[in-house]
């Protein structure tokens, strides 16, 4: 870990002594960055303002204008009106919560356990399993969706909540590599000390190793949470009876027969963003400082 003093020194070296050309280029780049930042933020300000308009005001009025009457009631209406054939808005929220939690917890837990076992235990198949895991990540396989979709049907996992459980038992990919790398660097002394105190292997995993790996586990969980909350394809393809906010809001707009009350729809969209933006507000440091090539650094 670098100290704050070292970091400050590094920053001052990076900033210090800008040439004349740089003194011209940097302000221009700053303006470009500012315009790009505004282009990312303004649409959401526009979305928020238009979510407070009446339906007629939105379709017929000045799109840039502030709402004539600030209809915060649109946010309540979202809960009443944004219903699908098979799910209410509350169902969408409930499905989002359980799907996100189940899939995030399971995938991170399984990768942690697999990474731990392969990093810390010696057995004959170990190097083959690791080699296969790496090999699978590097083959550019295209078109296996058809076979996978067929298999899900044959296993009776189609349109079942068990789909979320079974498919997230996978323990490979980048998350596995992160946890494998982390446990490779954890000393085995902790485990030996526990064995001397007559602790078993499960005790070592759950009471020593996993708590030690809390940092990378939390990072992986936060990233998985955001990904799973925003996932709409899984619901559309495999679990159509369990729409989440992401897939539900897409279906609501795509299948609207009598037109969409856009201000209310916008309110629904903004409600759907609350959890991920909240998590980002609290964990942006975790997410952004721990990113490394191949995913996340341990």
């Amino acid at each position: 870990m670098r100290s704050k003093l070292q970091k400050k020194e590094e920053v001052s070296i990076v900033i210090r002594g800008r040439s004349r050309v740089e003194k011209v280029i940097f302000p221009i780049v700053f303006v470009i960055f500012l315009l790009y930042a505004i282009s990312l933020i303004y649409p959401f300000v526009w979305l928020f303002l238009n979510s407070l308009k009446g339906s007629l005001e939105y379709s017929g009025g000045n799109t840039f204008a502030l709402p004539e009457n600030w209809k915060f009631s649109n946010y309540l209406k979202a809960f009443e009106m944004l219903n699908l054939e098979n799910a209410t808005f509350f169902d969408l929220i409930f499905n989002s919560i359980w799907y996100t939690l189940v899939s995030s917890v399971l995938s991170v837990f399984m990768c942690s356990i697999t990474g731990y076992c392969l990093a810390k235990y010696e057995f004959r198949a170990k190097k083959y399993i690791y080699a296969v895991a790496i090999f699978c990540m590097t083959i550019p396989i295209v078109g296996s969706l058809a076979s996978n979709y067929k298999l899900i049907g044959e296993l009776h996992l189609y349109d079942s909540p068990f789909y979320a459980v079974v498919t997230h038992l996978s323990s490979w990919g980048f998350n596995f590599l992160v946890m494998y790398g982390f446990f490779k660097n954890v000393s085995w002394f902790y485990a030996e000390a526990a064995f001397i105190d007559e602790g078993g292997h499960f005790m070592v995993v759950f009471r020593i190793m996993l708590p030690l790996a809390l940092g990378p586990i939390v990072t992986l969980f936060v990233v998985a949470f955001v990904q799973n909350w925003n996932d709409y394809m899984t619901m559309i393809l495999y679990m159509p009876s369990y729409p989440t906010l992401s897939s539900g809001l897409y279906e609501f707009q795509a299948n609207a027969i009598h037109g969409v009350d856009y201000p209310v729809y916008f309110a629904g969209l903004l409600i759907s963003l609350i959890p991920t933006l909240t998590i980002f507000a609290f964990c942006s440091d975790i997410m952004m400082s721990n990113m490394n090539v191949g995913g996340i650094k341990a």
Binding site: I13, F30, G143, L151
Partner: protein
């Protein structure tokens, strides 16, 4: 404890991919045939067919990812690394599209560029008729490519700035003392030192060459010449339940993809690694 992940791999990776090869040579009722390949090759060579348009657009998205998004992300990262004013705020804002769901992002973008939205109002202000950018074959793919660029810097930017922040201070100090200009600094110091990150991202992009796509389902559902290979596969499976042709196409693209990725790796290995 390894039993579950190993069984999972056998079922959901090995069986799935093995079965995908078998499906490519079968009819819907399981008889052996080469008709899927016959159909696929006829389609891919027919101008204007879904697969040929999809292949063309997929390559556009791949080039967009590598030559536009990656390059711009590299430039953005350099200025952030050099502590441009407001870097901390810009970092968070530029990363936001990676946090916000694609459904919300595309809905905002779609309404923003719609004739009834702000872009339409600007067109009207200048006395022009607002175009339907996503409903015109000439502009639809370009608009989605633009959307991908607009929202696509976040992860690349974090990876590049992370790599740049690991460059030793002594090197940065010495180039300042030598009076190196910005161009020299980028070409001679920054790029060689972050080459491992760049090369890894190149390999990852090359691995996904035939999966490169934009959010086609959310924007156009493949209409207006916006088809990509990724969306075509989804559409054939989800809408038409045509697994066999998809499997044949997948096998074909995988067979092209493997030598391509080996070639990319070989080219990347030609660049000497810099030790520091």
């Amino acid at each position: 404890m390894l039993l579950v992940p190993i069984v999972h791999w056998f079922v959901f990776w090995l069986y799935v991919n093995f079965n995908s090869i078998l499906l490519a040579f079968q009819t819907k009722i399981g008889d052996w045939t080469l008709n899927n390949f016959d159909y696929f090759f006829k389609e891919i060579t027919a101008p204007g067919s879904n697969i040929s348009v999809g292949l063309k657009n997929t390559l556009f998205y791949f080039c967009n990812n590598v030559f536009v998004i990656m390059v711009l992300a590299l430039i953005i990262s350099y200025f952030m690394f050099r502590r441009l004013a407001g870097t901390s705020a810009f970092r968070i804002i530029f990363y936001l599209p990676g946090i916000i769901s694609s459904v919300a992002m595309t809905a905002v973008f779609e309404n923003f560029i719609a004739p009834t939205g702000p872009l339409g109002a600007v067109y009207e202000f200048f006395g022009h008729e607002a175009p339907e950018l996503l409903a015109d074959p000439d502009t639809a793919t370009k608009t989605i490519l633009f959307y991908c660029v607009w929202t696509g810097f976040g992860t690349n930017m974090l990876l590049f700035t992370g790599a740049m922040s690991r460059i030793p201070v002594s090197i940065l100090e010495s180039i300042k003392l030598d009076g190196c200009g910005m161009g020299r600094e980028i070409v001679s110091i920054i790029l060689p030192l972050i080459w491992p990150t760049i090369s890894t991202l190149l390999i990852l992009n090359a691995t996904g060459i035939f999966s490169a796509s934009g959010p086609i389902l959310l924007f156009t559902k493949g209409d207006y010449d916006t088809m990509t290979i990724g969306y075509w596969i989804f559409d054939m499976v989800y809408t038409y339940n045509n697994y066999n042709v998809v499997a044949a196409a997948g096998l074909f693209f995988t067979c092209i993809g493997v030598p391509f990725i080996l070639l990319v790796r070989w080219l990347i290995d030609k660049v000497p690694a810099v030790e520091y």
